[in-house]
């Protein structure tokens, strides 16, 4: 995709929805303060999706897919929620959650790398399995110990979310872009057999990749619970599709071998802005449309995805892209 297209779509979207929500500015300072709180909200709201999307980008680069992310985030949040709140939460629930989620991610990776189960099937199975475990842990309850933990709230605020995002997208993204590790990932996504012959430890790289998704799922669980304060066994269903749509919209190929972290970042924000904007335009919609405007979200999401990927493949029409799957 042309590198300026995604930010342009994003800006156009923000302008359009701001106009639609009926917001009027009396002065520049007014507008600045409005947009400051707007972006702060946007960042906090989409922090979990952004974090997961970072991992999903790497997974799609390996020509894999991870459908279990939503269940994984929910499971770790459920397990952490079963611990009593209080300062000891930091050295009981948090390390345990981290260990658990690394295990969950590595399980995906091991099944894919060692047993040769295709990623889409493995993670489809673990998605059901991990979601089932959520119900085993939680039953029908909804628990909310998180905000009683001292210092936990900070994770859901702008500074906390921004720090985590700078850490992943800024530092890790910057390092990855230059790293040998990511080149190996891209190569094994482009052609796993060639990668094996080139001496790349394919199995180890795959397990690392899915382990990283686990790690990011943990961070996402932290930001999600800090912001939403409660969790139930059916939290975050459908997160995986939202994430995949965002990543693909950002220009990462599902066939593997290519991808961009910055594109993913824009992709997530485009969807978040649309989501938020449609909510803000509810009043305008109820006056002018014969249907609820929030229903448009699904339709726009679908069309955006097709349009984005189509533009993306047209760009690369010289390269051979297999149309199936």
């Amino acid at each position: 995709m042309r590198h300026w297209l995604l930010p342009l779509i994003l800006l156009a979207e923000i302008a359009f929805f701001t106009a639609l929500s009926g917001q009027s500015f009396s002065s520049t300072a007014d507008a600045v303060s409005y947009f400051r709180s707007y972006f702060a909200d946007l960042l906090c709201q989409s922090a979990p999706v952004l974090l997961i999307a970072f991992g999903m980008t790497i997974v799609l680069m390996t020509a894999g897919i991870d459908l279990s992310v939503g269940s994984m985030v929910a499971l770790v949040a459920c397990v952490m929620a079963s611990f009593p709140a209080g300062p000891e939460f930091w050295w009981t629930a948090v390390p345990l959650g981290l260990a658990l989620v690394l295990l969950l991610g590595a399980t995906n990776g091991a099944l894919i790398a060692w047993l040769d189960v295709p990623p889409i099937i493995t993670t489809l199975g673990t998605m059901i399995l991990y979601r089932g475990l959520c119900f085993v842990v939680m039953g029908d309850l909804e628990k909310s110990p998180f905000l009683s933990v001292p210092g936990y709230e900070w994770l859901g605020q702008v500074s906390g979310a921004a720090l985590l995002l700078i850490f992943t997208f800024g530092l890790a993204g910057f390092w990855l872009k230059r790293s040998r590790w990511l080149r190996e990932i891209l190569m094994l996504g482009g052609n796993p057999i060639a990668a094996r012959y080139a001496g790349i430890p394919v199995s180890r790289r795959l397990i690392q990749t899915y382990g990283i998704v686990g790690l990011l799922a943990f961070l996402a669980a932290l930001t999600f619970t800090a912001r939403n304060s409660s969790v139930s066994a059916s939290s975050l269903t459908g997160l995986e599709l939202q994430v995949i749509v965002a990543v693909v919209l950002g220009g990462t190929r599902v066939q593997g071998g290519a991808g961009s972290m910055l594109g993913t970042f824009y992709g997530v924000l485009i969807i978040a802005v649309m989501d938020e904007g449609l909510r803000g335009a509810a009043q305008w919609g109820s006056r002018n449309l014969p249907f609820k405007i929030s229903h448009l979200e699904y339709i726009l999401l679908g069309m955006l995805l097709i349009a984005g990927v189509w533009l993306n493949t047209r760009e690369r029409s010289t390269a051979k892209t297999p149309p199936s799957k």
Binding site: D116, V117, I128, F135, G139, V248, G302, I306, P323, S324
Partner: protein, 324 residues
């Protein structure tokens, strides 16, 4: 898609599932408490398993070509909404059923057409369809039903006939014709050819794009029948929540039935057995008194277990092919 000899791996999977289903039935018979009737388990099986099996038949063909359809649940939602709207307008039952099937057929064909014209991967198009079609259904309901409150109430009995009275009959009839068609017709074999190698397909003078689209059209027909049974079994059609996660259930049954997720291998019989296996597992867990909270986890572990074992058994052969 079982023409000629079954491949050894597919035959192994079919035998495995047959044995598994038999064992599960034995398990159900043993764990059943006094007063429960085994015949009732069998008669209830038809209506319950029919939507998954029928949608699975369509999905099998699509996956055999190397494509996938993630939008089937949303297509069912649109079909159901169209059905509900027509029922509200007092159309005769038969016409409503036909419209329901027609909608599914149309949308599935549209998926195929988009994939063909835009040359995009099926997973992308149908992922978009998953969101798009549900939105279409919601808008459609809002626009055509004044004061739409989120669900459409289907009250009269004649509108429930396919799901409640004739489900088993429709299932057996469709499955039977599908198996015969699979055995004798050339189209399913073309799907397999396409799934095995698109390049060879083209070199042999076949049109890969047309073949892939035919899988979506046939899939749409099966999906339409599944949709009719699905939406006539329930009292309230809620476009926002109807059939959530149905596509995963169906894909689970299809791959459990031995269809290769990358295409080129699969059978209708396997899909039917796979769906039965998942259904009987749930039933057996209920009869054995397994807590409902554990059932989903066990089902997930089972899918991973069966397929993981199968993949591990074929791992060596696959590696050898890779090296060749």
């Amino acid at each position: 898609m079982t023409h000629g000899r079954l491949s050894p791996s597919l035959r192994q999977r079919l035998l495995f599932l047959l044995a598994g289903n038999f064992l599960l039935l034995v398990g159900i018979a043993i764990t059943m408490k006094q007063g429960g009737s085994f015949a009732e388990v069998l008669t209830r099986c038809g209506p319950n398993v029919a939507p998954v099996v029928l949608a699975g038949l369509g999905m099998t063909g699509i996956i055999c070509t190397g494509a996938i359809d993630l939008s089937i649940a949303s297509i069912i939602v649109v079909s159901g909404t169209v059905f509900g709207i027509l029922v509200q307008r007092q159309w005769p039952p038969l016409l409503c059923f036909v419209a329901c099937i027609g909608t599914a057929l149309l949308l599935s064909a549209a998926n195929g057409l988009l994939i063909r014209k835009l040359r995009l991967p099926a997973i992308i198009i149908t992922l978009a369809g998953l969101a798009l079609y549900r939105g279409v259904a919601l808008v459609l309901a809002d626009v055509s039903i004044p004061g739409f409150g989120g669900s459409i109430d289907i009250q009269r009995d004649e509108y429930h006939a396919p799901g409640k009275q004739f489900a088993t009959l429709i299932l057996l009839g469709t499955l039977g014709s599908a198996l015969i068609w699979e055995w004798f017709a050339v189209t399913p074999r073309r799907w397999l050819a396409l799934g095995s190698s698109e390049e060879s397909c083209r070199l042999a003078g076949l049109n890969p794009h047309a073949i892939r689209q035919s899988a979506f059209v046939v899939g749409g027909l099966f999906l339409g029948i599944a949709a009719v049974i699905y939406v006539t079994q329930i009292q309230f059609i809620e476009p926002a929540r109807l059939a959530l996660g149905f596509e995963l259930q169906v894909i689970g049954a299809v791959i459990l039935g031995g269809t290769n997720i990358f295409g080129g291998e699969g059978s209708y019989a396997g899909t039917a057995l796979g769906a039965l296996f998942l259904y009987f597992t749930g039933q057996w867990m209920t009869y054995a008194g397994v807590s409902p909270y554990f059932q989903e986890a066990i089902t997930g572990a089972l899918i991973i277990g069966v397929i993981g074992l199968d993949c591990a058994l074929h791992r060596k052969r696959k590696r050898m092919e890779e090296l060749a």
